[in-house]
């Protein structure tokens, strides 16, 4: 089967980001000081555990960021050598989820249900009855749902748990082989990791991974035969929607903060370095920007983008590309409207740096301004950029939900947590009560945001010792 890749804007940006992250990791490994700081951040159990959760979410969004369009089989009368492609772009994640994506019911059904939620009129054994019909896919393999359902579900859960346990075991061995090299046999090191006697508390991310594997195992085992988290009004699997929403949240969280960096860093360094009228101008700019409530400014910009997209229909081929371009522009807008905070921090830090001896030395040697800024100022304010970026990540994910609710967020055709909450709102007040979309959105979002917050706190701790006051503190002897 032939196919062609679809390069969405956010895909490209995300992959560029992943490459940059790899580059940064390489950079850290070569710089002793940075390495020490990161090592300190990773000595904290909560940070490592949160990192493990984030890594899993990152994997999901990476899988969901490779898009392609499969070729349609040739029809009669079609010119040779010309292939047409499907109108829908598919991602790698869609391929993995092909079965649950295809299991489309007609309407609501509860988690793991075999019957629909809402009664319908239909014919049974030649008689018209009003009852809840069997689902087309959910539990369709059971001939007698009332009798077989419990044993079937339990059996699959057990299988999944065993699978998850095996995966955990493999992961723990792989981790042991990877870390703490050269300290006795593999078995001894494995016991050291599990016993928490390693320098970094590898036990914590391992336990986190184990929890996730034991949760995911049964889900995977059930997924092809049931709707683990039920279906929504149009009969789509809620779990699939939640998994697809991860990418949206991830894109908004990362790209929007990254979009703030060039402006904030550039203008902040310029203002702090040159002082005088440059400083005044930059301060004026960000005061104007912060004077307007962010939501309003974003709403104004998004309304503009909407009109722009309506008048430039030639920029995209499929609906997905349009929705994606809109999301990309939303990230840019969030970046253009949100650089003031970081800029203020960078400016203050640059003002402080400017009076230090090494800067005076650079000036005395006649180093050009641009070179001084790039070599001496920027590396010394990068920790602020890093801290702000990781702290903003979780805020933006929460913000996306609000923006989507207001109607200026992500396109409704894309899966997003905001969209799920929006639908869940009416479902939670309707009758019969449909709680599963709400619970799914809540669970996934809490896991993602909490992990991001814990990770950000750990990073902030290591890079800015004064911020330690934000973290929970136990008795003094726990602090190394």
């Amino acid at each position: 089967m032939s196919f062609k890749f679809v390069f969405l804007w956010t895909d490209l940006a995300l992959w560029a980001l992943f490459t940059a992250l790899a580059g940064y990791a390489w950079h850290v490994s070569r710089q002793p000081q940075l390495r020490a700081t990161w090592a300190q951040a990773l000595r904290d159990g909560a940070t490592l555990g949160a990192g493990a959760v984030l890594a899993v979410f990152m994997l999901i969004s990476a899988l969901d960021s490779v898009h392609f369009r499969g070729a349609l089989s040739a029809t009669q009368g079609q010119a040779a050598g010309v292939t047409f492609y499907e109108t829908r772009a598919t991602s790698l994640l869609d391929l993995l989820l092909a079965r649950p994506l295809q299991m489309r019911e007609t309407s609501y059904s509860a988690p793991l249900a075999t019957h629909a939620l809402i009664q319908e009129n239909f014919e049974r054994n030649g008689v018209m009855v009003r009852d809840v019909p069997r689902l087309v896919y959910g539990g369709a393999h059971l001939s007698e749902p009332g009798r077989d359902w419990a044993s079937d579900v339990l059996g699959r859960v057990a299988q999944g748990l065993i699978g998850g346990a095996l995966l955990t075991l493999a992961a723990s061995l792989a981790l042991t082989a990877g870390v703490a090299r050269g300290e006795g046999s593999l078995l001894a090191r494995w016991r050291a990791v599990l016993g928490g006697r390693t320098r970094h508390p590898w036990r914590v991310p391992l336990l986190t991974l184990a929890a996730m594997a034991l949760l995911a195992g049964p889900v995977v085992a059930l997924m092809g035969h049931y709707h683990v988290l039920g279906t929504d009004r149009t009969g789509n699997d809620v779990l699939v929607q939640a998994l697809k929403s991860v990418r949206t949240a991830f894109v908004i969280g990362t790209l929007s903060t990254l979009a703030t960096v060039p402006l904030a860093l550039g203008l902040g360094v310029l203002a702090g370095y040159f002082k005088g009228w440059v400083d005044e101008a930059v301060q004026y700019l960000y005061t104007v920007l912060t004077s307007v409530p962010n939501v309003l400014l974003i709403a104004a910009c998004v309304l503009m983008v909407q009109v722009f997209l309506d008048t430039h229909a030639d920029l995209f081929e499929t609906g997905l590309e349009r929705a994606d371009l809109k999301m990309f522009l939303l990230c840019v807008i969030l970046g253009l409207t949100g650089w003031a905070t970081l800029c203020r921090l960078v400016r203050a830090e640059t003002l402080k740096l400017r009076d230090l001896e090494f800067m005076q030395a650079a000036e005395a040697f006649g180093v050009p301004h641009l070179r001084t800024m790039l070599r001496h100022v920027v590396p010394n304010v990068m920790h602020l950029v890093l801290i702000t970026t990781v702290l903003n990540f979780s805020d933006l994910i929460l913000y996306e939900a609000v923006l989507t609710y207001v109607g200026v967020g992500v396109d409704p055709s894309l899966n997003s947590f905001g969209g799920m909450i929006n639908l869940a709102r009416s479902e939670m007040s309707g009758d019969p009560l449909v709680w599963w979309s709400f619970v799914a959105a809540f669970g996934f979002m809490l896991a993602l945001v909490l992990a991001a917050n814990l990770f950000a706190d750990g990073v902030r701790d290591a890079f800015d010792p004064r911020a330690r006051a934000f973290r929970p503190q136990r008795a003094a002897h726990k602090v190394p």
Partner: protein, 327 residues
């Protein structure tokens, strides 16, 4: 003091001009009035006559920045930019763009009080409860209570405010039937409608605020004057309540003050979720109805409030801490 005030006001004027230029650029140059007309009239086929009529009705039929047809100073003044800016600066908001063109000034004046009813008690209660909770954590610092308190804060700030609203409405309005789900009534009845939004809004911000204030208190607690106060033999409660609290007020005022504009503007999400006809809900309606005149007015108004509240915060500094000189 007078010179300081005058200087601040002069700067504020330029900020307002900047805000106005920014929004004008966004609304009129990125999209021309023709685009707006097309969007507002709707439909696929919109004739140029319809557009011209729409623009003429709303006074958008002049050139945007420079009117070459006029002479003298009228080249500046007979333009959309000048007319719109001057009327905004004079707080004459005019009518909205949509077909059901409402008087924006009237709406703002009536809805402001509704927003105020929701936001003012919220603001005061928020300060009291967050400070109280964080002082409690600081009092029990390095103990289990503190540890789990901060963990609770982190979990709470990781939950979207939308979840608080949905669960709250479900629990208190649907299951327990204590308060109405949404809506609003004037007079004393308003209390019944405002109780739940205020409580939920408090809860949704408690985590982040308490953690922030706790960090501020902890920073103060390492200072020398605290040691002196303890050496004098003051009780821990007295040290915290009288000395630490007072000195931590400056950063607290700064962070709480950033919410001041919303005391008037109301909360977009809470107002529209609970059907409270305040300014926040007004903005949401305007955004979904793509009514640019209302959005532009609200942007301007909120910038005005932001500047005013910043000035107020700076004046508060010198009241809280006499060492701060305004100059």
């Amino acid at each position: 003091m007078t010179a300081y005030l005058l200087r601040r006001l002069w700067y504020a004027l330029w900020i307002l001009v900047g805000v106005n230029l920014l929004t004008f650029f966004l609304f009129f140059t990125v999209n021309t009035p023709d685009d707006m007309a097309r969007l507002n009239i709707g439909g696929k086929r919109v004739t140029q006559e319809q557009i011209d009529k729409w623009k003429a009705e709303r006074g958008y039929d002049r050139p945007l920045y420079w009117n070459a047809a006029e002479s003298g100073s009228a080249k500046f003044t007979r333009t959309v930019l000048w007319e719109r800016s001057v009327s905004l600066m004079a707080l004459q908001f005019g009518r909205s763009d949509s077909a059901r063109s409402v008087d924006i000034g009237y709406e703002v004046r009536t809805r402001m009080w509704v927003s105020l009813q929701l936001a003012l008690p919220l603001f005061v209660l928020q300060l009291i409860i967050s400070i109280g909770f964080s002082l409690l954590l600081v009092f029990f610092r390095h103990s289990r209570i503190d540890f789990w308190g901060v963990v609770l804060c982190v979990v709470m700030l990781s939950i979207s405010s939308l979840f608080y609203i949905i669960v709250g409405q479900f629990l208190f309005s649907r299951v327990l039937r204590l308060v109405p789900i949404s809506g609003y009534a004037g007079g004393l009845d308003a209390v019944r409608f405002l109780l739940l939004p205020v409580a939920l809004s408090l809860l949704s911000r408690l985590g982040s605020e308490s953690r922030l204030y706790r960090a501020m208190f902890l920073e103060e607690i390492g200072r020398d004057y605290v040691r002196t106060a303890r050496a004098k033999g003051l009780s821990e409660l007295r040290v915290l309540g009288r000395h630490v609290l007072r000195n931590a007020l400056i950063p607290i005022i700064t962070s709480a003050g950033s919410y001041l504009p919303y005391v008037f503007l109301g909360s977009l999400v809470f107002e529209s979720f609970f059907g409270i006809p305040g300014l926040g809900a007004f903005v949401i309606e305007a955004i979904s109805g793509q009514d640019f005149a209302i959005v532009r007015t609200m942007v301007f108004l909120s910038a005005l409030l932001y500047i005013a509240s910043n000035l107020l915060i700076d004046l508060m500094y010198s009241w809280v801490d006499p060492r701060v000189r305004l100059a």
